[in-house]
């Protein structure tokens, strides 16, 4: 008897749970958030989770979307790359998310890619990356190499940038730095820099002893030509690297370091006085002087209840991505992935960076490029920027085998990596 009762109880519980679940699914639009909240990458990704929560909150205050409320579904892939794929599957299949905002490192993106393609999900990826990819199911709202790495190197080659002739490419040992440096090396060759004037060096994740490498950079720089360092060092390793630079007395005037993964958030853990003048290249800085940016910063600091919190480029990318998705859903009148994807092309959003950002048919954004110098207060002074937005290029023109490829998801191409259009247009 008791056993029987217990079972009925359980069955009833399951039934009621299922009903309430089904109701919830009808009432709300589910927005998946796939960012690490623990482990190595938590330092950067937690902020992005909060950004999306802020955007959802804001949209709900405006009355939601298609007459429904938005509901955040937050999971924690714990900086564990295979777990990203598992959690992505859970978000799409079990939690029925209509869209997912997530990933930071390229390894995590590569790991969820097959899942999104198999289940026809929709992912917004907000971080600057190495390019050489265009998936039907991913919208890349961060910078491609031609929107960050190449302009930064061009700036350092220019008169204002100090006319660098020798290059040190420093990076963490994984796919993003290796691919970016491959593109940069090809670019430098095209500009007439010989291999003898390029030093390439990789370190493990979380490398903390930079003495030897900084000494070697100093030595490399003293061989008669102006030297610049291009840093694709990622995550935790940046702080000890910059500390060592400061302590060994390397000034930005002597050897400027331009970084692609160091933003306001990373500098928050550092005394930046010895680093004044070192550079970073992004599509957004917190110091951008635009009304839209002031609004964005105010909204963020109010949401997070801390007037000292900073904003950064990937956050802006999520802001743009979220707004575009909302517009596309409104235009399509549904959250159906195929319909939303079609509506995404040509969507335009007023970005906090002070310009109109447009989604292109290769799933990359048009954004302007900005170069900032680190200031003593942990902010960046923008010393150079492109005249207008640059179209993100999925396949680099500086790698011969990639140059041939086209990414275009509209007729007649409908392809992310083709040499010829799929459908003959006649």
């Amino acid at each position: 008897m008791r056993k029987f009762l217990g079972k009925t109880w359980l069955a009833a519980a399951i039934a009621s749970f299922a009903i309430s679940g089904a109701q919830a699914a009808d009432d709300t639009i589910k927005v998946g958030v796939l960012h690490s909240l623990s482990g190595t990458m938590a330092i950067s990704e937690t902020t992005l989770k909060d950004t999306i929560l802020m955007m959802i909150d804001d949209q709900n205050k405006k009355g939601g979307l298609l007459g429904k409320k938005l509901e955040a579904v937050v999971v924690d892939p714990a900086s564990n790359w295979p777990l990203f794929a598992e959690k992505a599957r859970e978000l799409i299949q079990v939690k029925k998310s209509d869209v997912v905002f997530g990933c930071w490192t390229s390894v995590s993106r590569k790991s969820v890619l097959p899942v999104f393609e198999e289940l026809n999900g929709l992912l917004f990826y907000p971080v600057q990356y190495e390019g050489e990819e265009s998936s039907r199911n991913v919208f890349y709202t961060g910078a491609a190499p031609n929107q960050q790495a190449i302009p930064a190197v061009e700036y350092l080659m220019s008169k204002d940038g100090g006319e660098a002739k020798r290059w040190v490419l420093l990076g963490t040992d994984y796919v993003y730095p290796r691919t970016t440096n491959k593109i940069l090396r090809a670019f430098l060759h095209a500009k007439g820099v010989s291999d003898a004037d390029i030093m390439e060096e990789y370190t493990p994740f979380g490398h903390s002893d930079w003495q030897t490498i900084v000494t070697n950079v100093k030595k490399f720089a003293s061989e008669g030509k102006k030297t610049a360092v291009v840093s694709t060092i990622n995550g935790d390793a940046n702080v000890p690297f910059y500390k060592e630079l400061g302590n060994q007395g390397i000034k930005a005037e002597d050897i400027p370091v331009v970084a692609f993964s160091v933003g306001e958030e990373e500098l928050a853990g550092l005394d930046t006085t010895p680093l004044v003048g070192h550079l970073a290249a992004w599509n957004y800085f917190m110091s951008v002087d635009a009304p839209k940016n002031a609004e964005f910063i105010k909204q963020w600091q109010a949401f997070i209840k801390n007037p000292k919190r900073v904003t950064n480029d990937p956050m802006e990318a999520h802001y743009i991505g979220f707004k575009m998705w909302v517009q596309a859903v409104q235009q399509a009148g549904t959250t159906d992935v195929d319909a939303v994807r079609q509506a995404m092309y040509g969507q335009k959003v007023k970005a906090p960076g002070g310009f109109d950002s447009v989604m292109n048919t290769n799933h990359h954004l048009s954004k302007p490029v900005m170069i900032g110098e680190i200031q003593a207060n942990g902010q960046f002074d923008i010393v150079w920027r492109t005249d207008g937005p640059i179209v993100g290029d999925a396949w680099s023109d500086f790698i011969p085998e990639s140059k041939k490829l086209t990414a275009d998801w509209t007729f007649p191409w409908v392809c992310g990596n083709c040499e010829k259009p799929k459908y003959a247009a006649n």
Partner: protein, 565 residues
């Protein structure tokens, strides 16, 4: 221009800085008066120019900016010092509403304004009203060169040395007369050498006289640093161009060879220092583990988190000092050391009493349990402090480097950590060997039953020993906060290295831990230039595995019956 400067500033040599400052101020007004009274035409022409030039400093075009800097420097008027310094320090702003330019100081509400030339108060403004005059690295070099020229005759030897080095980098021919007059007056031999170095660099780069260039090369060849190497390399690479042709080139090549061979020698010394420094970091991280793992035999995966807690305690101490006693900031680390020891030690005692004591003699369970504890601690810290890095400031006495004329730079924070790690080791050895607590610890770990029957409360001793090990890990956290991130992941990056050091040095032997840490540090640093950071680490791990195959007990194995249990 330089002569005027020489005359004005030379008055300041000798007496102390405050005296000099007041003289400087007096002279400034005196100078303005004189120029107004006696050289009407010229001075008025210049005075009319200055405001326009200062306004030009904030120009968006870098060419316009550097033009303005050159013109202002050439005016020789001491009032231009203030705007140039403000531009370099990022305190020069234009007001959006009327386009006027101001020197700002930050206040509670925004900025206090000061006129860049007259120094008159201009009220205040909120930050939205003002636009900062941006500069680039190229402009920064030019500014430092210009300002360097002005402080070359000042009273502060350090500033004079910096000025000479700035001129060396800028190498502008206009600096020659100024440098020559400075060299004639200089009394400090070290600064004198730097000035001669700067002068030689200018002569070498720009002189038309082969004899002057040869002499310059001779002077430069007497230095051993990377900057001189760069300079010599530059001209060797250019070939026989310039005055003196082949003869100068050959001399430069010879001087370069000398510089490089000496640099190589000093490079070796530098590698040695870096190896010892890495060794001392490893030693600090491992020394607590040498107690918990080495002496007690507990495989403590939460050791790294004790280090992390120590680093966060340092952050907390600094926060309190920053808000309540800002004057004591330089002493913050000394206050943090006992605080971190207490906090980490107490957490350690709690872990021992709460979890580990139930698991003695079951190494696998201890490993899993402490690993779980480490995850819990990490996430707790992440929830309390947030996932982002916390800024732990470096006291003034620990920043910068001890630089030798040879270009060898020993960074102060690394020097401090080397000394600190040795002190901690020494103290620990004393505690273990010379105190009754140490005696009881050794007794309990060697023969628990016997110690117990002799009236030692083994439970208390266990807790204290584990607490001591954890507390020392906390102290390590204070030191590591100076060179690494203070984030919840801090401990993870040191746990593997710590076990490596303890196992390699010999379990249960503090001296072994010392030699283990130092040899791993040195091997790592001598290997890194050849193998790179990633491969170097792999080599060391492979070598360590092979070593353990032959000497499973490490370098300094304990001998005797006690070990067998």
């Amino acid at each position: 221009m330089s002569n005027i400067w020489g005359r004005i500033l030379a008055c300041g040599q000798g007496p102390g800085p405050s005296y000099w400052n007041s003289i400087h101020k007096m002279l400034k007004y005196f100078f303005i008066l004189i120029s107004l009274a006696f050289t009407p035409l010229n001075a008025f022409a210049q005075a009319a120019d200055l405001p326009a030039l200062v306004l030009q400093l904030a120009d968006k075009s870098r060419a316009k900016q550097s033009e303005a800097i050159d013109a202002l420097t050439a005016s020789g008027d001491p009032v231009v010092l203030a705007p140039l310094e403000a531009l370099l320090n990022g305190n020069l702003y234009t007001r959006k509403s009327d386009g006027t330019i101001w020197i700002t100081t930050e206040s509670a509400t925004g900025f206090d304004l000061k006129h860049p030339l007259t120094g008159a108060e201009g009220g205040s403004a909120v930050s939205e009203e003002m636009t900062k005059a941006n500069i680039t690295n190229a402009i920064r070099t030019r500014l430092r060169g210009a300002l360097g020229g002005m402080s070359l005759l000042g009273p502060d030897a350090k500033l004079r040395r910096q000025a000479a080095d700035a001129i060396f980098k800028n190498a502008a021919p206009e600096s020659i007369p100024l440098l020559e007059s400075a060299i004639a007056k200089e009394s400090d031999p070290a600064v004198l050498r730097r000035m001669q170095r700067a002068l030689a660099a200018i002569h070498y780069n720009l002189s038309d006289d082969p004899q002057t260039r040869l002499k310059a090369i001779e002077t430069l060849g007497g230095f051993t640093d990377q900057d001189v190497r760069a300079l010599l390399n530059n001209v060797v690479a250019r070939g026989a161009a310039g005055a003196g042709g082949e003869e100068v080139r050959a001399a430069a090549e010879k001087a370069l060879a000398g510089v490089e061979s000496r640099l190589e020698f000093w490079g070796l010394a530098e590698s040695l220092f870096q190896g010892i420094s890495l060794g001392s970091v490893l030693l600090l991280a491992a020394i607590g583990l040498a107690i918990t793992f080495g002496v007690m035999g507990i495989i403590n995966m939460a050791h790294g988190e004790m280090v992390m807690i120590g680093a966060y305690t340092t952050y907390m101490v600094q926060e309190i000092i920053r808000t309540s006693f800002p004057g004591m900031f330089d002493a913050s680390l000394f206050i943090a050391i006992p605080a971190a020891f207490m906090v980490s030690g107490l957490v350690g005692v709690a872990i021992e009493r709460g979890i580990i004591r139930f698991l003695y003699g079951r190494p696998l369970e201890t490993l899993l349990a402490t690993w779980g504890v480490s995850l819990i601690l990490q996430q707790t810290v992440r929830s309390i402090f947030g996932p982002t890095n916390k800024e732990v400031g470096t006291p003034a006495w620990m920043s910068g480097a001890l630089e030798f004329d040879s270009g060898l730079a020993l960074t102060y924070n690394r020097l401090a950590i080397i000394i600190f790690s040795l002190m901690v080791l020494g103290l620990l050895v004393l505690v273990m060997r010379r105190t009754s607590l140490g005696l009881r610890m050794r007794a309990v770990t060697q023969n628990r039953a016997m110690a117990n029957s002799m009236g030692i409360r083994t439970g208390t001793v266990d807790a204290l020993t584990f607490g001591l090990g954890s507390g020392i890990a906390g102290i390590a956290g204070v030191a590591l906060s100076q060179i690494d991130n203070v984030s919840p992941n801090l401990g993870q990056s040191y746990i593997v290295d710590s076990f490596m050091v303890v196992v390699f040095g010999g379990v249960g032997n503090l001296l072994g831990t010392f030699f283990g840490a130092m040899s791993l540090g040195l091997v790592n640093k001598f290997l890194e230039p050849y193998a790179g950071a990633v491969l170097g680490k792999i080599f060391i791990l492979v070598a360590l595995i092979l070593f353990i195959q032959y000497r499973p007990r490490g370098m300094f194995a304990l001998k005797g019956r006690a070990v067998e249990h």
